[in-house]
Symmetry: C2
Subunit: 505 residues, 2 copies
Amino acid sequence: MGSLDADLPVVTVDGFKPLDVDDLRKQLLLSVDFIVDYYKNVDAQPVLPQVQPGYLRHLMPAAPPPRGATLEDALRDIRLAVLPGMTNWASPNFFAYFPATLGSAALVGDFIASALNPVAFTWLSCPAATELEELVLDWLAQLLRLPPAFRSSSDSRGAGGGVIHATTSEAILCTLVAARDGAVRRAGGVPISRLVAYGSDQTHSTFAKACRIAGYDQANVRLIPTRLGSGYALVAARLRDAMAADAAAGLVPAYVCATVGTTSSTAVDPLGLIADVAAEFGAWVHVDAAYAGSACICPEFRGFLDGVERADSLSISPHKWLLTGLDCTCLWLRDRPRLAESLGTNPEYLKNEPSESGLVVDCKDLQVGVGRRFRALKLWMVLRTYGVAGLQAHIRSDVEMAQAFEGMVRADRRFEVVVPPRFALVCFRIRAWGGREAAAEADNRSLLALVNGGGRVYVTHTVLDGKYVLRFAVGSTLTEHRHVASAWELIRAKADEVLGGRPLE
Amino acid sequence: MGSLDADLPVVTVDGFKPLDVDDLRKQLLLSVDFIVDYYKNVDAQPVLPQVQPGYLRHLMPAAPPPRGATLEDALRDIRLAVLPGMTNWASPNFFAYFPATLGSAALVGDFIASALNPVAFTWLSCPAATELEELVLDWLAQLLRLPPAFRSSSDSRGAGGGVIHATTSEAILCTLVAARDGAVRRAGGVPISRLVAYGSDQTHSTFAKACRIAGYDQANVRLIPTRLGSGYALVAARLRDAMAADAAAGLVPAYVCATVGTTSSTAVDPLGLIADVAAEFGAWVHVDAAYAGSACICPEFRGFLDGVERADSLSISPHKWLLTGLDCTCLWLRDRPRLAESLGTNPEYLKNEPSESGLVVDCKDLQVGVGRRFRALKLWMVLRTYGVAGLQAHIRSDVEMAQAFEGMVRADRRFEVVVPPRFALVCFRIRAWGGREAAAEADNRSLLALVNGGGRVYVTHTVLDGKYVLRFAVGSTLTEHRHVASAWELIRAKADEVLGGRPLE
């Protein structure tokens, strides 16, 4: 390989200091300037970038730089080459997917966590990170009025507790593995290929993917159909039918993923009924409340979590709606040691007295990886700095803005709201006049292309019951009523273009 | 659940702004002050905190705060309650595990990435993040002189390329899943329980864990014994024996995890010979170079990667030795689409034109999760700001300090260097005088407890061939020669205490 890239010039430096404490303030201030500039301008920038695939290669050298550059030069490159290709999730005009929210308290907390840079795989490798994670998960559990069984503080001998993962995908994967191993043990060593996992056709795609990763047979992942009649929620009776049929066929129902707030339409599965059915078959019940779980810190939304007290695990992603910034998914379990049974390791080079004492938790045994960022700090900063009152105000403000948008849609008879909104997502579309579904799909596809085409706002779509639907998700950190109103004006104007003078039969 | 925590007071706020652009600079400056203070003082702080399990619960309220606090108050809490419980990985006196390094360019890059907070699951959801990841992986591949087959830029029709994962664990898990699915297909639908994965007894524990997660039978994970004679490297002939025996027994050799720089002693497995053996059986070869891979940016270390051109995949964690801060693991593959075959999803709500064009990469299909941090930015900042020259100087400086430490150990006849150091880790111990291994273990355990007891430095241990050994890993970002010398003085003094006046026979 010696001749490859032999043209890379050889340069050496003396006294290289990757982190010069005397110069650190000056360097960090450059990033503060960059970030403040970005936020001052983001409202005026396109949400969707106007770049073509491969754009960046034309703006940067193909080979790594032999010599270093100043931080100023590097940041200038970012302004010139990176910012123009950003999909600006921080823009107040971002209404796509679900928002990724970020409060300044989280930004400060994450910055400090990055600077401290601990690797808290065991308690001893960073007691503060491990214990702050326990504490903040218990705080949030209280705020969500989770049953005491999920909290590590309520009874020191209890088995409940949580862990912070990177994503919902990791939470689902880890609980799928624990459920899998438990089901195999209980069924006397039945092969994994006989296990079955259940969700609905609205369950996030990461569920079926996690099943594949964990070795479940793809043919044994049941995505039970839902309909508008039940608000796209999983119907417990249909789950029971599926489980009973599988059990009769000699398969082993092992895991149910229920969702509070599905991605397409924020449908809420009936947790209590699902838990009843799962209990008949001894299956693990996981509740994925990635988006809508955050709303349940408000009493008026808490009912959507009813039944969670009979679930085995629950995950919520504060990076979506609780202002923590990516990534931060909280997973609570009533029997946390079951995770460690499947995910625990004990290599010699990590052995230490506190771990052997059994008095501490080693987070590496509750997740996919060994290393882990100190994510608890930003979540703690959010709870401490905003308090319960601030966070509830934040949720309610987003819901109010979504209701305002819903009102605007309903006031225009060319449109329909496809499913009654529950949180801060509005699913709507140009109506299928005269029942012409194909035409409606074409109209709505055109509308979406026109709305997003200018880059001024970003809205995405889904398909519900075969209908092509636009999703308008309110809640980007900086979004105010005026942004929502302005987006609606744009949508109306583009609908005029799509529908032209066509008569509204 | 309504009555639970009914004592949480109800407080409301008006005009809550989680990110006030006008106040942002002031808030961010508070975190700059915090970080600069931390780094100015970290040299004088204990590396290992002097706290007991459960310490934090005594310092913070048990319930979440109803009202918000100022950022100043929140940061004061962190100083009072979090910092005293930190294991200070940033301390220049940290010699435990492998270091987690962080240059200020990475800190700046990560801060900006956190502020931009994009969720680059598809190209469209953030073209800049996706394309910068491609570019920086190609830069690093060139720096490492990886074969063109691993680079996405070398041939637009080639299948090679990379992805940034959180940890080595994720890289191993994802490649294990791709290898598993490929082996199942090739063997005509053989059950997963018949597949076998191979490493050595020095392979990181996360390998066996990833095998469990991916559904491999634990009985089919072979950790082939190594010995001092081969420098604790995997002997290819023993691998062939194991694979042949398994194949003869009707099992299917599917995956080999070779390591460049094992955790215990930085052993280097012979990649070329291992690839030859694996090829006989059609098994996937992954190279885990989490720590030592970074050193291979220097020509004098590149030989340790020889043979990688015949591997299927390679992972290196720049968060360990290449100054990027946690978390950042680079994974390169010669056939990247095989990852997507196993990990790809295509839900309606993420469908978009660029993805369907086939001209772009969607990173969600190359990892466990859907969401992902913009990790490429900090890695790009490191390469751009330090250049090849700075990074090579950084590696060489750490290796020189380790060599200096090795010299000090060798000059004291009470000690022995257990295995010749190759990178910046020195494995050493108090000798087993007269072959008394039990006494040597007790001596070295006592020595480690005394050395770490004061909190001034942090050193960890391992066991090699049954011998209890101390690991001295040089390379924390701020470590200079004087810290190494001072740590050695402490070790010598504690050895005096352990050995007392005992005669050195």
